[in-house]
């Protein structure tokens, strides 16, 4: 029963947060200089006050603010995120077309960063006693990676692997005009994914190395681990069941908290690699001053981030029975 209650309360909070995103969008639109009707009339080259007034009326801008907010919220509930005039398409159709590419990039980078990061963190922590240089190398390397702006790293990787060595494609998601099928298509897609995925994952890899390392160091010093050694349990059993399982929790928590950051970095990486995702869409919307599209992208990314946070919270609860018992919080 308490499980059900917890899930329900968590969902309720998520809904409140998504509502917060919507309200924030609404406020941001109102902050923009000149109202949408004026902008539209300006684009059409018409400077007639009567026409602008008529536009305002048809767009509902003459109604009181709370009423406008309500209309905005109900519109979004029906997936009506507005219309993008420069693209001549509805905002939702543009975003839903691009979303899978972004999720693929984010998912693969997250997977890479989490697995390699935890692995290196564990290696560093376990070599602290005998091979101090290895621990130092990994820790210092992570600190350096942490200071590198992802968009610049992306350009350096292009410079090395595409321009100099000519090993990997520098942009896009697939070979232009290449009629590829089966295995060749897979290889081509993987080659295109590799550099963006690497550039995106390094920053988070550094973070997870750090987290996993300090969590492992903490766990390794605990009594239950010593007991496990004393009982004569095997190396792998102690490492996986007694140490890693406990050290994993801060990493998983961080993945949830940092998902918004990851989404932000994805935007930059997509710009560098001309990756056909919503980050690229946002960048194009910037130069076209397409506010409807800008807000739509923010709304969708914000919602994805909130949903991801709920999932991670639930996962944490599964991983650690102590949270369920309310002993930790």
């Amino acid at each position: 029963m308490s499980d059900l209650l917890y899930v329900l309360s968590r969902l309720l909070r998520a809904v409140a947060m998504i509502l917060g995103v919507v309200v924030l969008c609404f406020v941001l639109v109102r902050l923009a200089p000149g109202d949408p009707a004026q902008l539209m009339a300006g684009d059409a080259g018409i400077d007639d006050p009567a026409y602008i007034a008529q536009l305002r009326q048809s767009m509902g801008l003459d109604r009181p603010l709370p009423e406008q907010l309500l209309a905005y919220v109900t519109g979004i509930a029906r997936l009506d995120l507005g219309y993008s005039y420069p693209n001549r398409a509805s905002v939702w159709s543009l975003i839903s077309e691009r979303l899978p590419a972004t999720l693929l990039l984010m998912g693969s980078a997250l997977l890479l960063a989490a697995t390699v990061g935890v692995l290196l963190g564990v290696v560093a922590a376990r070599s602290r006693q005998r091979r101090r240089w290895l621990d130092g190398l990994i820790a210092q390397g992570a600190l350096l990676l942490y200071a590198i702006p992802p968009f610049w790293l992306a350009m350096v990787l292009v410079l090395v692997f595409s321009v100099q060595l000519n090993w990997l494609p520098a942009f896009g998601m697939q070979e232009v005009g290449g009629q590829l099928h089966g295995w060749a298509l897979w290889r081509d897609s993987l080659a295109h994914l590799l550099l963006p995925c690497l550039s995106l994952s390094f920053l988070y890899l550094a973070m997870y190395v750090h987290l996993a390392r300090s969590a492992m160091l903490e766990v390794m010093a605990q009594d239950h681990v010593r007991t496990a050694y004393a009982k004569g349990l095997g190396y792998w059993r102690i490492l996986l069941a007694h140490q890693l399982r406990n050290a994993l929790l801060p990493v998983v928590t961080m993945v949830g908290l940092q998902f918004g950051q990851l989404a932000s970095s994805t935007l930059l990486i997509e710009v560098v690699y001309a990756w056909p995702g919503i980050g690229r869409l946002l960048y194009d919307a910037l130069s076209q001053r397409d506010y409807a599209l800008l807000l739509g992208v923010f709304l969708v990314i914000g919602t994805v981030v909130v949903v991801m946070n709920v999932l991670v919270d639930l996962l944490c609860r599964l991983l650690d029975p102590r949270i369920q018992a309310g002993a930790l919080y």
Binding site: A147, F151, L159, V163, L217, L268, R289, Y291, L294, V305
Partner: protein, 279 residues
Amino acid sequence: MATVFKRYCRQPAAVLGALFIAVLAALALAAPWLSASPWEMNAHPLLLPFTERAHWLGTDMLGRDLGAGLLYGARVSLGVGALASAASLLVGLLVGAAAGYFGGWVDAVLMRVAEFFLIMPSLVLAVLLVAVLEPSTTSVVMAIALVAWPGIARLVRSEFMTLRQREFVQAAQVLGLSPWAIITREILPNAMGPLLVTLTFVMASAILTEAALAFLGLGDPEAMSWGYMINASRNLLRDAWWMSLLPGLAIVLLVLAVNRVGEGLRSALQVPGRTEASA
């Protein structure tokens, strides 16, 4: 104070970081006397570094001196970094102090708001705000502060929560001091250490966010910045590697230096946390 300074000086990386920032700040302040305007197109375009003495760091596609760009870019990075951290400190202090001191529903509401901004994709939000308000130094600083304050607010709150229970605060309450006096005179000075450490990390991420915004074309159009320089080099990666490499290296070094200073302060002030990071 003297022991804190001594503990700081015992860490070579932290001292080196502080030195780097000091030299860079001095160079940035002296930029108008050291070089011509970074916008001036007064040399051969696409000069390789170390080929011509007058422009030893090379030039870009318009013949603008890269050394001048780096110097003036340091002004933007350091200036925006400092201003944005100051602004987030102000907001974070106010919110965190109110939440931590008063508790109850004030705390609940403020921390929900902080959590919201903590989870949101900060750069995307900053991009939106700058795009809506028109790019300028003010809007960039405001956008960075908007996404950076929750971390400080949460720290201030937790410091207040623990300090509020201590005897000297209770004594001040018994003496009838106003909440404002207790917050500013009794609690804040005791929360200075952790706050200072967090502030350095806020500054590091502010510098990175400013660079990212400028890279997306959302910097102050009047100011030459490192992010803008990288953006300008995007289409010339094949012909002029130095145009993107140099400003990028500048960002990495500065952020690394600021982080090192933060780690140094952390262990000098004996603030608990990631003490193992510099091991």
